[in-house]
């Protein structure tokens, strides 16, 4: 057989039906469901008298609307509550066996719990009504975000109609410099290729710097694939992946797992296989990054200055930069390190895993959050929260003056009560710095957990390498 990329192997293994000129029918191994993009899909099933075809391949949780205050305190927003209640009802009515509500010990951001619980596995096809489904590709699966109509389609048929995407290799050569993280890798990649650089493509991240990342770091990279416009991101499974899977509660165990691992060893891209495009980045060129604008590709190194819109080549870029600086309340040529912040959000499916919390805790241990800053930590799941508490990280954060919260999507998108006030400036470990993303008029700077932690202490952005 001809040499194939990992994506092509997974795709080929899941084709149910193909016809020339039509999208392929692809079988879905894991369907993740949350409360925001699913109610209309379940309604559609009800109206058509359809069932969920494979409840056993469907995992649901409540994450976007859930307040991050203590679980004993009721939800105050009645519209949010109605959406959460709808998922409760739908999970019961359609007999979903794996539903983790707000109070479950397995609850959390859907992209944190899928891999952490062992539902996301190498070689699978994974979908969710959420663009950051690309996260799961870190385990070596094809994971793609879909709309609500497609959620209904997968619920009803366990398949998805997809035109085969093109492939793109993003190779990061060499070792990461000290103080440079997985978040900086992906911000650097997006800064390099632009917010639509990956449109129509599935990205496979390769190279030494990627191989050396932990699973949590790999998930950070794959998470933001969509911010570069890509359909999905993926990383070949290796011993790091298999060791991770071994300790997951709902992953296969024993002889079954070992047999699966042998199969997974055949997943990586064959030598001689070709990608439609390749981008090469040298890890040595990367540094801690801070976004200065309102799209994730508007990014600068911590030691740089806010760009002058006049320095951009095209009129469209100049206008976009001018508009972004106006929205962000920044001046051209201002030093990034001189930007003062009001808030710190350490959380989201990008950076709320245990590695992220450990890394941030190491930066702040024994230090105090600036009196000008309100800082919060929102662990990615109840399990991550429990693990962090077992390690005493919660105390490190609390001692430093951070607010320690309950798991959820929280201020990544502000569907729950955690939002910025107009004009407030936030160092955020999330994935989108769009206008109004964290609250009307809020100003978001995307950074790594280490950089967010350091900024919380300093009250302004600071180079974590010298901190």
């Amino acid at each position: 057989m001809a040499a194939r990329t990992m994506f092509e192997k997974i795709w080929d293994a899941h084709v149910v039906h193909e016809e020339p000129g039509q999208p392929s029918l692809i079988y879905i191994d894991l369907h993740l469901v949350h409360e925001v993009t699913s109610p209309q899909a379940f309604d559609g099933l009800r109206m058509a008298g359809r069932q969920v075809r494979r409840p056993d391949l469907t995992v649901a949780t409540a994450d976007h609307n859930t307040p991050t205050w203590e679980l004993t305190r009721p939800i105050e927003d009645q519209i949010s509550k109605a959406q959460l209640d709808a998922l409760d009802r739908n999970a019961a009515e359609f007999n979903l066996p794996f539903y983790y509500d707000r109070f479950s010990e397995n609850q959390g951001i859907v992209h944190v719990i899928g891999p952490d619980l062992g539902y996301t596995l190498p070689g699978k096809t994974v979908v969710c009504g959420d663009s950051h489904t690309s996260t799961h590709g870190a385990l070596g699966c094809f994971a793609v975000g879909i709309g609500t109509s497609e959620v209904e389609h997968v619920l009803a048929t366990q398949t998805l109609r997809q035109f085969k995407p093109r492939t793109m290799e993003v190779r990061v050569d060499g070792d990461l410099p000290n103080g440079v993280t997985a978040k900086d890798i992906i911000l650097g990649i997006i800064g390099h290729m632009g917010v639509n650089g990956g449109t129509g493509h599935v990205i496979e991240y390769t190279g030494e710097a990627i191989r050396n990342l932990s699973m949590d770091g790999r998930m950070t990279v794959c998470n933001m694939s969509i911010e570069g416009g890509a359909r999905a991101g993926m990383i070949a499974p290796d011993d790091t992946t298999f060791e991770y899977v071994r300790t997951r509660p709902y992953a296969p165990k024993g002889a079954e797992l070992e047999a699966r691992i042998e199969e997974w060893r055949a997943l990586p891209t064959d030598s001689g296989a070709t990608y439609d495009r390749t981008i090469v980045i040298n890890a040595a060129d990367l540094a801690p990054f801070v976004t200065w604008g309102t799209k994730p590709d508007m990014v600068a190194q911590i030691t740089d200055r806010v760009p002058d819109p006049a320095s951009f080549e095209t009129t469209a870029e100049r206008e976009a930069a001018e508009r972004a600086l106006e929205y962000m309340g920044l001046e051209p040529n201002q030093r990034i390190e001189d930007i003062r912040i009001d808030r710190v959000f350490l959380g989201a499916c990008t950076n709320a895993r245990i590695d992220d919390l450990r890394a941030a805790a190491n930066v702040i241990r024994g230090r105090q959050v600036s009196s000008d800053v309100y800082a919060m930590v929102v662990p990615g799941s109840a399990r991550v929260k429990a693990q962090a508490e077992a390690e005493g990280l919660d105390q490190v954060f609390k001692d430093a003056g951070f607010d320690w919260r309950v798991a959820g999507c929280s201020m990544c998108l502000g569907m729950n009560p955690d939002i910025l006030d107009p004009g407030q400036r936030c160092a955020s470990t999330s994935n989108r710095n769009f206008e109004g993303r964290q609250g009307r008029g809020g100003r978001t700077h995307l950074v790594s957990p280490e950089m967010a932690a350091a900024a919380a202490i300093a009250g302004h952005f600071v180079d974590v390498r010298d901190f």
Binding site: Q83, Q158, T199, A320
Partner: protein
Amino acid sequence: MEPFVKLEGVVAPLDAVNVDTDMIIPAVYLKSIERTGFGQYLFDRYRYNDDRSENPDFLLNQDAYRNAKILVSGPNFGCGSSREHAPWALEDYGIRCIIAPSFADIFFNNCFKNGVLPLILPEADVRRIMDKAKDNAGFQITVDLEGKQVRDGDEEIVVDFEVDEFRRYCLLNGLDDIGLTLQHEDAIAAFEAR
């Protein structure tokens, strides 16, 4: 789904690049469990002032464009979140066609599921339509999906276009994907039995 065959209407020129789905409809309005009623929140952060009064500077609050059926915008329209609430909001408002040089993948796909045509035209043609819509309040065009052509009344602008044939067929006939897929029930069951 309502079929999309031919659409004639006013063009609203939203001259910006990378219009994201948070701009189209902010997350705070995604809490409804209904599929309709999102039009009132379309471009909410720009359409309304803090006190919920209309922002007179925003395109769709100007009389010439208030009843627009077609939006013309810059590249990478619809980037960001997978929220289908974005095409729902556009459709509910009355906009059934967006013309741009390129679209983000998930938004592009979501449009076709809702009888909304995301139409890719070459940048120069998009610019011509944008400029005419800016200069001539109430400028109208016809988007003829059957004939695969965009044209204005004076036929100063006549642009032939291509849309993937399968997607075009589904739009023209207002077809529901699930029904089509379930015709392959045997193949799905056979796959599951492997």
